[in-house]
Each structure stands twice: as structure tokens, then as C-alpha cells.
């Protein structure tokens, strides 16, 4: 019985990390309708920010988030206004915007990666913070990973409440469902989309800082995280906060279970098998659209 508990708890912690990656992208894709391929680069940039603050100025990452998250928000907001707004203005349909934004953000990916390579170099970076064992219900988990899970839950909860209980949140959901009708109802879709995009960027900033406490990363690692986030977002249903959370946690538990009970070599296989299975069963994702 303790093995099952062990698997579930470690799986939740790993899944928390995956969910954290995905929550920002689900906002950006679900509401702002931007398929942001440079998403992982912002995660890495935030990780570098935390590394710089911690090793260079002895500011611990939790406090460092107070600087990195607003900076990420601001940068993403500027990115939307300057680079993506022209695409939004001339897109005649949502489909066209998605295609244009894929191409545009693909280019941005290389720009950000190039800047990071020049500033920080290409080598691997790693630092350790809060790598303290915590004993819960008979299993041992690292504190920094538990923190990542905790933040994922808090952020998902806050976003869910915001999107369902506040006026502005409902306006955002309206944009995701039907932008034309939303505009006719007097909602400023440009401002709301920019805000959603920037909020997604802020979440990925937090994600980057938290996961930098235990992951080894380099300037070229961004693409891997974008892929992971994309899988979780699509599996959970685009634009769906709870969907992204549940999908992330599910993937984490499945991966851990397969690694312990079957063979560690099958973890990637089970991730993609679940992804395919979920889409075959529910093509719009586990929780489907619209954004909730």
C-alpha cells in the first residue's frame, strides 16, 4: 500500500511541475489565441534570471520571483503589443491568427535563444535551493518540488476563480468562445487579449524560477519545455485551467507509476500513449472547450 501512496505522491509532485509549465500556455493559446512557440524560451529566461539573482546577488529564488514575474509580465505585454498586434489586426479568422502566430513566435524563439546564448553562453547551468527532504505519509519528497506543486495548485485556483467569478474573467472567456460576439457586447478584445498573453507570460516566469531550483538547464533547453507544455495543454483542453492542471497531474502520476512498476525506459512512451488515447476519446481535450 505504501508503494501506491509513494507513487501517487511523487507523481503529483512531478505532475505539479508539468501543470505549472502548461498553465501559462493555456492562457496564451486559449484566450489570446496565440500559439506561442517561444514559450519555453521565456521559461528558460526566467530560470536564468533566478540563477543570476541567486548566484550573483544572493537573492533567494522565492524573493527573486517578486522581480522576475513582473518583468515577465511586462516583457510579454510588450511582445504582444509590438510584435503580435499587427498579426492580430490583419487576421481574418482565428485559424489564420493561429497559423500566423506559430510562424511569428517561431522566429521570436530564435531571437530570445540567440540573446541568451550571447549573454550566458551555451553551457549547462544548475544550482540547488531548498533541496531538503520532507517526509510526508511515509514517503520522502524534495521541498523545492513540493513548492512547484503548491504554486501550480494556487495559480490554477486563483485563475479559475478569476475566470469564473469576476466580470473581467467572464469577459475573457467570452473572447475565447466567440470574439466577434464578444466585441459586439462591448468587450475590448485587444486589451483583454494582451492582458491574457501577459498573464500567461507571468505564470511561465514563476514556473521558470521555481523549476530552476532543481532542474539543470541551458540556453538551448527551451524547446523541450514548450513541447511538454503543449502536450499538457492540448490533452487538457485548450484554454481550460482545470484541464491543464488535471492533465499535468495525470501525466505525472502515470509517468511515475510506469517508471516504478514497469520500466523507466517506457516513461516517454506512456506520456504519448496517454496523449493519443485522450485525444482519440475526447478530440477537444479531456475537459474540452470553452475556457473554464
Amino acid at each position: 500500500m505504501t508503494l501506491a501512496l509513494d507513487i501517487v505522491l511523487s507523481g503529483l509532485v512531478l505532475g505539479g511541475m508539468y501543470a505549472l509549465f502548461a498553465l501559462g500556455l493555456t492562457l496564451q493559446y486559449g484566450i489570446a489565441r496565440i500559439m506561442n512557440l517561444s514559450y519555453g524560451e521565456f521559461l528558460i529566461a526566467a530560470a536564468f534570471g533566478a540563477l543570476f539573482l541567486y548566484t550573483g546577488m544572493a537573492v533567494n529564488p522565492i524573493v527573486g520571483m517578486l522581480a522576475v514575474v513582473p518583468a515577465a509580465f511586462g516583457l510579454n505585454w510588450l511582445l504582444y503589443q509590438i510584435v503580435l498586434m499587427p498579426l492580430v489586426k490583419r487576421a481574418k479568422s482565428q485559424g489564420m491568427l493561429e497559423v500566423d502566430s506559430i510562424l511569428g513566435t517561431f522566429g521570436i524563439l530564435f531571437v530570445i535563444q540567440g540573446v541568451m546564448l550571447v549573454v550566458f553562453g551555451g553551457s549547462l547551468q544548475s544550482y540547488s535551493y531548498l533541496s531538503i527532504p520532507i517526509h510526508i505519509l511515509g514517503t520522502t519528497l524534495a521541498l523545492n518540488r513540493i513548492l512547484a506543486l503548491a504554486f501550480a495548485l494556487i495559480i490554477a485556483g486563483v485563475l479559475y476563480l478569476f475566470l469564473t467569478r469576476t466580470r473581467y474573467g467572464i469577459a475573457m472567456r467570452a473572447i475565447a468562445v466567440n470574439p466577434v460576439a464578444a466585441q459586439l457586447s462591448g468587450i475590448n478584445i485587444r486589451a483583454a487579449s494582451a492582458l491574457a498573453f501577459a498573464a500567461g507570460g507571468a505564470i511561465v516566469g514563476a514556473g521558470g524560477v521555481l523549476t530552476s531550483m532543481f532542474l539543470t538547464f541551458s540556453a538551448a533547453s527551451g524547446v523541450v519545455f514548450t513541447m511538454k507544455a503543449l502536450i499538457v495543454v492540448i490533452m487538457g483542453g485548450v484554454g481550460n485551467m482545470m484541464g491543464a492542471l488535471v492533465a499535468g497531474l495525470l501525466l505525472g502520476i502515470a509517468e511515475t507509476a510506469v517508471a516504478r512498476l514497469v520500466d523507466p525506459g517506457l516513461t516517454i512512451a506512456v506520456t504519448y500513449a496517454l496523449f493519443l488515447g485522450a485525444l482519440l476519446w475526447r478530440p477537444t481535450g479531456l475537459f474540452g472547450r470553452p475556457a473554464r
Binding site: 553551457s123 549547462l124 544550482y127 533541496s131 539543470t216 517508471a259 523507466p264
Partner: protein, 402 residues
């Protein structure tokens, strides 16, 4: 009138030709052109940025600060031509060809990684350039140096890493430091699979019992499932053929779950100064591939020098050997006395050279002055295998996590 004009023009033309003929120097070279194609972007950038590129930069600076390489009776400074191969072997091969045919460099330094060097070998051979393939570690080395005499290997063979591991563990087991239970994990990549296959056979032959034997995908972000199961099998030794990200993750996770094997061996990355930096006193007693003889004054001075120029210490496996290989190249050029690549190749293969890692004399195109297994003891990553090599330190059991 016309005759006079033509005569004047003709005379001027003749005079110009004569003057240019006199003043044009006989294409004498003032600088030695050295080029390289290296991974500055892409997945290989991390490895190249730790081991290869900094050493190329330090060496060029050292040579130019000393006035240059002595070629004949002239001292030539090095002029660098650098290309980014973007971790792509086609790009790398195109860049190497460009270096030789368009930039017409005198010598080409090799790219990073076994795969890249093997891909580059035919073209280096066709173009006639010496290839000092330091970051190439393959059991095919003896056949390749026979086929391509311009190709040289410097890190030893993977089979020697296996032999070093088996010899070290056997020694410790006979001394009663460890029992016969070993947990072995490997990254599911050529490096991990090749080494784990060979080591499995070697350990079984030496009488060890491999109680946990699994491989995991490259890029696994959570090593806890694997390590928890390994811990449950209660081995005295955890042997991991891992790449830098997993090397760090394994060490960190083992500490968190209080998995305290008497021997912890992690593959690539143990020799990085960042490893010592991240784990500090907890790195004590951890083994990995490579090693260096920290007692050699040349190595000590090199580490300090690298730190001054690059801003961080070098890794303790391939970095000193890379720098030593460049010293060999320089000495070979100086001994030949002119830019004759065929003669330089011959000198590299037959001569004996004094470098920061000691005397280097290639045998069948391979450097034999290598360490296969190293261990952090104090602030040095010392060589412990080959166990009978001069300067080998005795292996210690890993103390408990702090």
C-alpha cells in the same frame, strides 16, 4: 604623335610591371591561419562550451601572448577563423570544407563529440589535415587510426572505462569496503547503452551481483522513481552511466531520499567544476569518468590559468587533454619548421611531447596518458583508475550525505 603616345603608355606599363615585380613579396605568410567549426548553438553547445571552445580560446591567447608559433626562423601569430556548426554534422562538414578550400587555413581544430568527429574524419583525411579528435571516445579507435593516419584519439577507449570500473570495484570489494551488490542505471543513448552492456559483462565475470539494472530516457526530469527502486534493492554501489542533466539530478535526488551507497558513480558531468560548485562537500567520494593527476604542477597551473581567462575552472577530464593536444600540435609545427601538414601529422604520431599532463607519446595514433575513473577527494578530482598508473590514488568509500 600616336607612336609617341603608345610608346609612352607602353613604357609606363613596363615600368609599372617591373616595379610591382620587384616590390611584391614572394607571398610570405605572417600569421598562421587556424580554423574550427564548433557547436555554438543547438544541443551540443553545452558540451562544447565546457570542454572544447574555452580551451581553443585559451590556447590561442597563450600562443599569441608569447609572440606566436615558431615556424622556421619566424614567429607567427595565430589568426582564427571560426564557424558555428549549429550541432549539425552536415553544417560542420560544409564549414570544414570552407575552411580548407575558401579560407585556406593552415590547420583545422576538430569539433565536439564522438559523433561529430567520426563524421568529420573522412573529410579531414581527404583534405590532408591532422585531426586531433580529443572529444571522441569510441572502441573503433584502433581500426580508424590505421585507416586514417591523420586521425588521433586522446581519451582512451570506452572498454578502458569499463576495465577501470571493474578493477576499482574489485579492489574495493577485496579490501572489504563494499559487498557484491551493484545497482546499475544508464541513459538510453549510445554512450549509456554501450558502456552498460560492456560493464554488465565485466562485472558478472568479476563475480558481482547486479541487483537493479535499468535504462531511462534522455531528458528524464525526475530520477526519484528509478532511485527509489534502486535503493530498495539495497546495493553498496550505485553505478550510473548518465549525461550532465541526469548526473546532477541523480546526485541531488539520492541526497533527498537519503540513498547512501558506499560508492556512487555518475557518468559525464562529475568532472565539471559546476558539479563541485553545486554539491560542495557532498561531492566528496563521488566517482565519475576521467580524472586528472592534480599533483602535476602543469595541471594545477592550467586550472588556475583557465579560471583567470575564462572566468571559471575547466572540467577535469577532457579539458586538460584538449589543451595538451594543442600543445602537441604547436610543438609538432615548430619541430617541422614549416607549414607542411603531412610532416606535422607524422611528427604528431611519432614524436614525444612534454605537456601539462606530462609526457605524451601516441601509440598507434592514440594517447595512452589517460585516466578512466576519477573521484572527488578534497578539492581535487583525482584519477583512481587505471589502478596501476603512476599517480593513481586509492579509492575511498563515499561518506554519508551532509
Amino acid at each position: 604623335m600616336r607612336m609617341n603616345t603608345w610608346a609612352a603608355i607602353g613604357a609606363l606599363a613596363l615600368a609599372a610591371a617591373a616595379i610591382s615585380g620587384l616590390s611584391a613579396p614572394a607571398q610570405a605568410q605572417d600569421t598562421l591561419k587556424i580554423g574550427w567549426a564548433i557547436s555554438k548553438t543547438g544541443p551540443f553547445a553545452a558540451g562544447a562550451a565546457v570542454t572544447t571552445l574555452p580551451n581553443y580560446q585559451v590556447w590561442v591567447k597563450d600562443v599569441n601572448d608569447a609572440g606566436g608559433i615558431k615556424v622556421g626562423d619566424k614567429k607567427m601569430k595565430i589568426e582564427v577563423v571560426e564557424y558555428d556548426d549549429r550541432s549539425n554534422s552536415e553544417e560542420m562538414i560544409k564549414a570544414v570544407e570552407r575552411l580548407a578550400t575558401q579560407d585556406k587555413v593552415d590547420f583545422i581544430l576538430p569539433p565536439w563529440s564522438t559523433g561529430m568527429n567520426l563524421a568529420a574524419a573522412p573529410i579531414f583525411n581527404k583534405l590532408g589535415y591532422p585531426q586531433l579528435a580529443v572529444t571522441a571516445n569510441t572502441n573503433m579507435a584502433p581500426q580508424l587510426t590505421k585507416r586514417w593516419p591523420n586521425l588521433t584519439f586522446w581519451l582512451g577507449l570506452p572498454s578502458e572505462i569499463t576495465d577501470g570500473i571493474v578493477a576499482t570495484f574489485s579492489k574495493m570489494q577485496k579490501e572489504g569496503k563494499i559487498n557484491k551488490k551493484i545497482a546499475m542505471i544508464a541513459v538510453a543513448d549510445q554512450f549509456g547503452i554501450e558502456l552498460s552492456t560492456a560493464t554488465r559483462a565485466g562485472l558478472k565475470k568479476a563475480g558481482f551481483d547486479i541487483v537493479y539494472d535499468k535504462s531511462y530516457p534522455f531528458g528524464t526530469q525526475d530520477m526519484q522513481p528509478v532511485l527509489k527502486d534502486a535503493q530498495a534493492a539495497n546495493p553498496d554501489v550505485l553505478l550510473a552511466f548518465s549525461y550532465p542533466p541526469d548526473t546532477f539530478a541523480i546526485t541531488d535526488t539520492a541526497k533527498v531520499i537519503a540513498f547512501n551507497p558506499k560508492v556512487l558513480f555518475v557518468g559525464v558531468g562529475t568532472a565539471f567544476p559546476m558539479y563541485k560548485g553545486k554539491f560542495g562537500a557532498n561531492a566528496e567520494g563521488i566517482m565519475g569518468i576521467g580524472g586528472s593527476d592534480a599533483s602535476l604542477p602543469g595541471v594545477k597551473a592550467y586550472i588556475q590559468h583557465h579560471k583567470e581567462i575564462i572566468g571559471r575552472e575547466p572540467d577535469r577530464w577532457a579539458s586538460p587533454i584538449t589543451y595538451a593536444s594543442l600543445q602537441v600540435l604547436q610543438q609538432a609545427i615548430e619541430r617541422v619548421g614549416k607549414i607542411d601538414r603531412a610532416a606535422v601529422i607524422k611528427e604528431i604520431n611519432t614524436g614525444s611531447f612534454e605537456t601539462i599532463i606530462g609526457t605524451v607519446k601516441l601509440v598507434d595514433g592514440q594517447n595512452r596518458n589517460i585516466w578512466s575513473v576519477g573521484q572527488w577527494q578534497g578539492s581535487d578530482y583525482v584519477g583512481i583508475a587505471p589502478v596501476d598508473k603512476k599517480g593513481a590514488k586509492a579509492p575511498i568509500a563515499k561518506p554519508a550525505w551532509k
